[in-house]
């Protein structure tokens, strides 16, 4: 389409290179958009390299200061900055446990359920389908208090199980794999059956290898989703040893709003950067898979 645009824009053979104002505007808009996205995070990053007094007096800093190492070191290894007995490394670990546990759990359970729904003659298949897909409608935020009461009555507060399992209770992954399995050619099952492969063998040797890209795409989306959970971890983990990084942000805000002493701004910004880094890196490096997963899951 590019070459056509050019031929139409310059119908006469005009070899003198003219500035295409339209293209300049386009780039200007895109650069403005990119800066709009980038600047807040950049400012956070540069600010994380200053000492708290400077930040308190002068606000966000746009130049790199000399406290970067100290701040990140404190954010990662020092207990009792914003929380009393947990350091950044533990929160980082908990974030990974939540992100990976959530993504893996969701994918495994969803694939199994989708396989059962798509590939088996099942009398109550329609019923199971509706039971499962109703869960797509109501996010956890809507039923937050009763969910909390139920988890509490089961004694699951401050456990990884209580943290992860309720988040898995929605059918996004099942729906995603159902769509994908339905697009897999019918001939594959027939061929597999003729060759004498049973359902388990077909699932493990044919369907799972076929779904590799889909699994990767969904893993990225689910990992980011799990990592970024805020409300549920805030409610369910009161024990600091189970805090995730995103949950830790709430502690920062609380110290900030107390206003008694100058908060450790630099350390807070460093912690925010650490909380952003893993999901951002995954999304940037695997963006093709991620975009594919995102745009195909919801249609």
């Amino acid at each position: 389409m590019a070459d056509i645009a050019e031929t139409i824009a310059t119908p006469k053979p005009a070899p003198t290179p003219k500035i295409k104002w339209e293209a300049v505007t386009d780039h200007a808009i895109l650069i403005a958009g990119a800066l709009f996205m980038l600047l807040p995070v950049l400012a956070t990053f540069t600010t994380s390299s200053h000492d708290p007094v400077t930040i308190h007096r002068e606000g966000l800093q746009l130049a790199i200061g000399d406290q970067m190492g100290t701040n990140f070191d404190k954010a990662l290894f020092e207990k009792g900055g914003f929380t009393d007995n947990v350091n950044g490394i533990t929160m980082l670990m908990n974030s990974f446990i939540l992100g990976i546990g959530f993504a893996v759990g969701k994918i495994v359970i969803g694939m199994m359920a989708a396989y059962a729904i798509v590939y088996f003659r099942l009398r109550f298949a329609t019923f199971a389908f509706w039971i499962i897909f109703t869960t797509l409608l109501l996010p956890l935020e809507v039923r937050i208090l009763p969910s909390y009461e139920v988890i509490q009555s089961m004694g699951l507060t401050n456990t990884y199980t209580g943290l992860i399992l309720p988040l898995i209770a929605s059918a996004t992954a099942t729906f995603f794999f159902r769509q994908f399995f339905r697009s897999v050619p019918e001939e594959l099952v027939e061929a597999a059956r003729i060759d004498g492969a049973g359902p388990v063998k077909f699932f493990i040797d044919i369907l799972i290898p076929l779904s590799r890209t889909m699994i990767a795409a969904l893993f990225i989306i689910m990992f980011v989703f799990g990592w970024n959970q805020y409300l549920w971890p805030t409610l369910i983990t009161t024990d600091e040893n189970l805090f995730t990084l995103v949950r830790g942000i709430r502690q920062i805000i609380q110290v900030y709003s107390d206003g008694n002493s100058i908060p450790e701004y630099g350390q807070a910004m460093a912690l925010a950067i650490i909380a952003m880094l893993p999901p951002v890196l995954i999304v940037v490096f695997f963006q093709n898979w991620f975009v594919k997963g995102l745009t195909e899951s919801d249609k």
């Binding site: 895109l30 958009g33 400012a43 495994v108």
Partner: protein, 293 residues
């Protein structure tokens, strides 16, 4: 279901058991519990509860505060949806058009997807900080005395800005993928028929993007209603006080700060009905989509 499915009777049930168990315990049980407790009034000190019928509901709908929160939620949802959709559409159209650096722009415009809402909120708190926030100073330059967390409208503005910032990437990804799926032949035909880029956009591209836009509309409404919790909680610093809040935030505040299980549950049920209505609306739009594609 596939025509050539397997006929084992027990295997599919085994495969479905984990999903069904989790859903039953962590979805249907709490949802049912919400409906049940919305008809009860809980003793604030935990000594049992008494059946009050629809009293919790009538309390909600006659409460001036609830109506205020509901109105704010409507305005907030509209602003976030409209601004993030139009900004993302503009950027996607441009990113689809440029040849040089298209991939770089795509990366630069989408990575914020991975930033957690409360982290975005924390950055908002710093940017709009009353004494030293750069945006506060910038607005002060124009005579706007911005007071985050104190002035109702200022806090609402910050909430909208942060929520839009966080949502543009998702919309951008979907719009760009929608634009790129428009067949080359259609674009070329449009090029021949019409030289004006603006007219081409409104006559050809936009109608072809309509299914994506409809779909995104629902996604954005859901986002503004539910996923902005982290943004709001950080921007009001966990202390709602006089600040604006959305319906979901009120469910949380009434339930966990006010210990009002019945009232909070009734609000949950109202939200459930709202989401169900949205879904029905979405299905009707999906039916319409077929005519386009």
């Amino acid at each position: 279901m596939k025509r050539a499915g397997f006929a084992q009777p027990w295997l599919p049930i085994l495969l479905l058991i984990p999903q069904l168990t989790i859903i039953m315990i962590f979805f249907y049980w709490p949802a049912g519990y919400a409906i049940q407790s919305s008809f009860y009034l809980q003793d604030p000190f935990g000594f049992g509860s008494s059946f009050v019928g629809f009293e919790n509901y009538s309390d909600i709908f006659s409460s001036g505060e609830y109506r205020k929160v509901a109105w704010f939620t409507v305005v907030y949802t509209f602003l976030v949806t409209f601004l993030s959709l139009s900004l993302a559409l503009l950027l996607a159209v441009k990113a689809d058009k440029v040849i040089r650096g298209a991939r770089t722009y795509r990366t630069l415009l989408m990575w914020v997807y991975a930033v957690a809402p409360p982290v975005a909120g924390l950055m908002g708190v710093m940017l709009f900080d009353q004494s030293a926030g750069p945006l506060t100073e910038f607005l002060g330059f124009f005579g706007w005395d911005f007071k985050l967390g104190v002035n109702y409208n200022d806090t609402a503005t910050a909430m909208v800005v942060v929520a839009v910032w966080k949502q543009v990437p998702v919309n951008f990804i979907f719009f760009l993928s929608g634009l790129q799926s428009i067949p080359r032949s259609v674009r070329e035909a449009a090029m021949i028929d019409n030289r004006s880029g603006t007219r081409r956009f409104w006559d050809i591209t936009f109608p072809l993007l309509a299914p994506t836009a409809f779909f995104l509309l629902i996604i954005n409404i859901t986002y503004a209603l539910f996923d902005t919790f982290g943004v709001i909680d950080t921007l009001v610093k966990g202390e709602p006080g006089n600040n604006p809040m959305t319906l979901v935030y009120k469910v949380f505040i009434d339930g966990f700060r006010g210990n009002d299980l019945g009232g909070s549950s009734a609000q949950s049920v109202v939200l459930m009905v709202l989401v169900l209505a949205l879904t029905v609306f979405q299905f009707r739009l999906l039916e319409r989509r077929i005519h386009y594609t």
